[in-house]
């Protein structure tokens, strides 16, 4: 896919650039924020947005813009790590289920049934009590939730690909099953996985917000958008801005990711791309 074909998908361009903008802001917070986020000053709390603090300050006098930048980084990191865990475990499992039928497939399917049966929040609560609440707990909980999703996507995609003749050709050429999975199946389901990845990333950001909101996710002094909402909820009637700003940030980021995901699907999946002509070819 080159840059020109990218431009044919305005959704992808808009979604990716908005995502990139937030990702950049988030990364920037690693090296620079307008104010350090650990810099607590009760004296200047609840400042309204102004030239000094563009988005005002929170209940501990921390700069809201800095918090949102850093919170976005946490949200992205948690979501992305969870996607990495989900894909890292789920994709090999799904591939294994696709290439080895019988017991391996049965075990993988049962495992994914099992993981689906545990709502992510329950996993999070269990892990939070096991290892204490924190961002890593959210990563694991959301990651576990992601595993069967990726396993099913990978298995479904791999099963569809493995009926194609080039897989048979590879077997004729003496490639082992893992080699076939690596060389032929994986590259061809990569686009599926990337698209699913953006969806799970946005779901992960929402889930992180939910977990932090009930106190199981990110813990101070680190911050995340969900944690900001938690901190601000009791002040909602007095300082509604403290809830609105991080909430809107979540909404915009998730929308951007979803639009990018939709665009990616259209751009990467030739079957969908050519749908307009699919039923009239010939």
């Amino acid at each position: 896919m080159n840059w020109r074909s990218l431009l044919k998908h305005p959704g992808l361009v808009i979604g990716l650039s908005a995502t990139a903008l937030f990702a950049l802001l988030a990364l920037l917070s690693l090296v620079w924020t307008p104010y350090p986020i650990a810099d607590i000053s009760i004296a200047r709390r609840f400042a309204t947005p102004g030239p000094e603090h563009w988005l005002g300050t929170d209940q501990l006098g921390r700069d809201m813009l800095s918090l949102i930048m850093s919170g976005t980084l946490t949200s992205f990191t948690v979501g992305a790590m969870a996607v990495l865990i989900g894909a890292g475990i789920g994709v090999p499992l799904g591939l294994a289920a696709a290439i080895y039928d019988g017991p391996v497939e049965w075990v993988v399917l049962r495992f994914s049934d099992l993981a689906f049966a545990f709502p992510a929040v329950v996993i999070a609560i269990l892990i939070a009590t096991l290892v204490g609440p924190g961002a890593s707990n959210a990563v694991i909980a959301i990651g576990i939730f992601n595993v069967p999703v990726f396993a099913q996507v990978a298995r479904g995609g791999a099963l569809a690909i493995s009926t194609l003749d080039f897989v048979a050709a590879a077997r004729l050429a003496g490639l082992s099953k893992p080699m076939i999975a690596l060389r032929h199946l994986l590259p061809n389901i990569a686009s599926l996985i990337i698209v699913q990845g953006t969806i799970q990333l946005s779901l992960g950001i929402l889930a992180e917000a939910g977990l932090s909101y009930i106190g199981l996710g990110t813990q101070p002094p680190a911050t995340s958008l969900g944690l900001m909402l938690r901190d601000a909820q009791s002040l909602f009637l007095i300082h509604p801005w403290l809830s609105l700003a991080p909430g809107l940030a979540i909404v915009v980021i998730v929308i951007a990711l979803n639009i990018a995901g939709d665009g990616l699907r259209d751009a990467l999946d030739p079957r969908l791309r050519n749908r307009g002509l699919a039923n009239v070819a010939g």
Binding site: D165, F166, L172, A173, P187, L277, N279, A281, G282
Partner: protein, 518 residues
Amino acid sequence: MSLVEIEKLTISFGGKAAVSDLSLSINKGDRFGVVGESGSGKSLTALAVTGLLPENAEVSGAIRFDGAHLPQDEKAMARLRGQRIGMVFQEPMTALNPLLRVGDQIEEALKLTGHEGDTAVAGLLTEVGLEAQHTDRFPHQLSGGQRQRVMIAMALASAPDLMIADEPTSALDVITQRVVLDLIREICDRRQMTLIFISHDMRAVATLCDRIAVLRGGKLIETGPVKEVLSRPADAYTQKLVAATRMAPRQGEPHVAEKTLLEVVHLTRAFPQGGFWRWRQKPLLAVNDVSLRVSAGECLALVGPSGCGKTTLARMIVGLDSATTGQMRFEGTAYRGSDLPPARRADLSLVFQDPFGSFNPRLSITQSLGEPLRLIPDLDPLAREERLMEAIDSVGLDRAMLARFPHEFSGGQRQRLAIARALVTRPSLVVLDEPVSALDVSVRGDVLDLLVKLQNQLGLTYIIISHDLDMVAAMADRVLVMEAGKIVEEGKPDALFAAPQHRLTKALMEARLPDIAA
């Protein structure tokens, strides 16, 4: 008087014309054939007549049906289709709603035109050769031929003036194909219906139609009465299409069986059937106690209807699948299928049917072609390079193409590449699974010529799997006819086709469409 009149029709997508400046006139009572290869715009033209073009199509020009312009209003157009035009599509698998009983689907078509009643459904079913019991079936419970009959019954529901059949038989096997074609002809005769028959198959058009239009790349090449056009094609392209329908018998010495290369001994492949108590179900015998011999340098053909087990047999021979009982011997190495030792695999190879699915789109041609070379140990990079060059040269393609990716090639080129891949290990036996059936007619000949040339040059042994009797007759030294996992007849092609003994062979011969009269 013309029923359908197409005037300067242009259909384009995103500025690219798929049909350009096409004018045709189809008279009442005509059986009009539209012939063309993929991308010729023949289907789009049919869709344009019925107002079913995709929404993103840009259309200009005029279409008149029975003297009147096609209505712009969607509802009016829909009703016109329902009452006066019947349509039959290519894929009977997907053209019926999988969730509804076929009786209901036919009845729905009747309701839309105001002809109601159970008797009407039964009448239509009888007319297309189905029985009353079929009304309660779901589409997946019917065979392809039966489904296509249901489609025809639905098309007839409104007693239309015009029937449009878009490749109605290309997804069916040889015997059914002929039956359905005959059915369409018979109904058109009986009902005095006008027919637009769209096909890539010259011989089908010749059998069924009285007028013909040849399309290529969205343009009209030639039109006129079938007899005139086909016996004296004016255009070079039409000539080529007509020529491709006749396969010249193979030149050269008849093969003399000397040394046995491959021997198949009492081979059986059983597939377990589903069910809760799997072991209680009787297994399905896809290949049932088959024995055969292939001698070096021979070209052996396996023919039979779909599902007869010929592909399963081929897969076991090349080592993609394993026999349940029995065994094979390849130059003295005994094996059951997948246990074929890697060292021997290099001597055996397979060319797949579908040139589009047989290359990994993510790998370059070099990578794909080089893959079988893993079977040959200790091949240094230089020798490897040499093998690839040799293979690509042998199929008549440019060496520069090695660096490219599959999507950059046409179907014919890909099939050449598939052959190159099959040859890269310098095998002695090549199994060809329907090697040309997925290709456009105009390139089939070239690929077959290439296969013959390679066999002569390299002394290859071929096993060809096909349902195309003409191709088999042209290529094979010996033919095996398979049915339900067993070999039912064997012989030299001339003798076998001239005097078929088995019921199946006879049916296959009868289903053959007549040659186009020169």
